[in-house]
Symmetry: C2
Subunit: 223 residues, 2 copies
Amino acid sequence: MVQKKKGPPQGGPPAEITAAPAEPKRRGRPRAYEPDVALGKALELFRATGFAATSLDDLSAATGMNRPSLYGAFGDKRELYIKSYQRYRDSARATIGEILRQDWPVRRQLEALFAAALDIYLSGEEGPRGCFTVMTAGSEAIADPDIRAMVQNAVTELDKAFAHCFRRAKEKGELPDSADPVVLAQLASATIHSIAVRARARVPREALEAIVAGAIDVLVGRK
Amino acid sequence: MVQKKKGPPQGGPPAEITAAPAEPKRRGRPRAYEPDVALGKALELFRATGFAATSLDDLSAATGMNRPSLYGAFGDKRELYIKSYQRYRDSARATIGEILRQDWPVRRQLEALFAAALDIYLSGEEGPRGCFTVMTAGSEAIADPDIRAMVQNAVTELDKAFAHCFRRAKEKGELPDSADPVVLAQLASATIHSIAVRARARVPREALEAIVAGAIDVLVGRK
DNA sequence: CTTTTTTTGTACCATTTCGCACTAAATCCC
DNA sequence: GGGATTTAGTGCGAAATGGTACAAAAAAAG
């Protein structure tokens, strides 16, 4: 995902254009930042401290862009938050899609999905950062309809991904006929939400993995 | 302004003492607020907007106390947040204890616990406010060790409450020997966390109730 | 009535915060 | 080289924020 997005043609002649649409020739002074990595830094900060507690100065320091540049590139703080969240979701969606694409037994697929979630939630220089969707639900979702819609969407998509997983498993005979993919999916999503909360409370990885293992056993039967 | 707030023993002889420790005779100017209801208002505000996005002016307006009084009564903003959270947890603990005390079948007990959670999460003038623990995990828990400890505690206590519930059910023969109370409890807690997140995204009550119903079926078997 | 004690409420301060002019710099086009 | 164009970076300013000093007010105690 993190494609080097080819910044501006600089450093030399525009010989090696990677693959991206690659803007042909920019006109004025070249940017001193790469929008993509700057957005990544912003996301990182927002994930650590949330919307309200993150100041533009903090964002400016983290991205290396000064405030006017930040503003010019991404709009105001709210827009930047939304773009950060979009990026987070795109990344998560890609990860999930990648796993769902594999032709694996449910158990393995669940293991992969939960492991991916843990990697995301536990990453972070100063302590695990949890799930951005859960954080956003807890803060901006109430007052901001647009952001709330994104949260709703994220939750729904996760449910659907898991449901797809269980439905297929049922078709393949891995689950009993009595199994309800939608219910199982909601429980799997719930487990995701729960480990996100616990991660931010600094529950150690092993404990979270134990929770995941227990959940999988209940969802698809003990190994 | 707004002095309806007749508080302590006054208006007549201290004849009708309700039940509380009832402070005997205060010395100086009487308070224009009741600490308890003020704290309740503060909690309400914090639950709606979170720590960082709630200003002292907001709190002052909500409680009817001016900032210096607020400070004198509860300390700075962080202390007020902690006291609000404590109050929230005390209340939740009381509710849970009340339910656990009943000699009911697991299913009924779970139904009662989840119903109580939904009542808490869905209340609020302007939209459901979710779970304070989940919100706090998503915001202050990373940077503030004391607050993080409270969140850890809250999560652990919830797990234990559910585990107690399932363990007893197992003893009473309501659950198969193969059932693991701890694992089931974590799934129940996860369901709690999940409906808290969804509530803030304004998922309608019926949908949340459906999730709860599905979870209960998986946890203790279909009715 | 006076003193003492406690709370209230106004006013203030130092900082932070967000946003935006405005100037300087760097690159492209002719 | 000269002009056009785009970005960088300094810095300002209005508003908000957290916190507090201080005097007035309200009650009990003497």
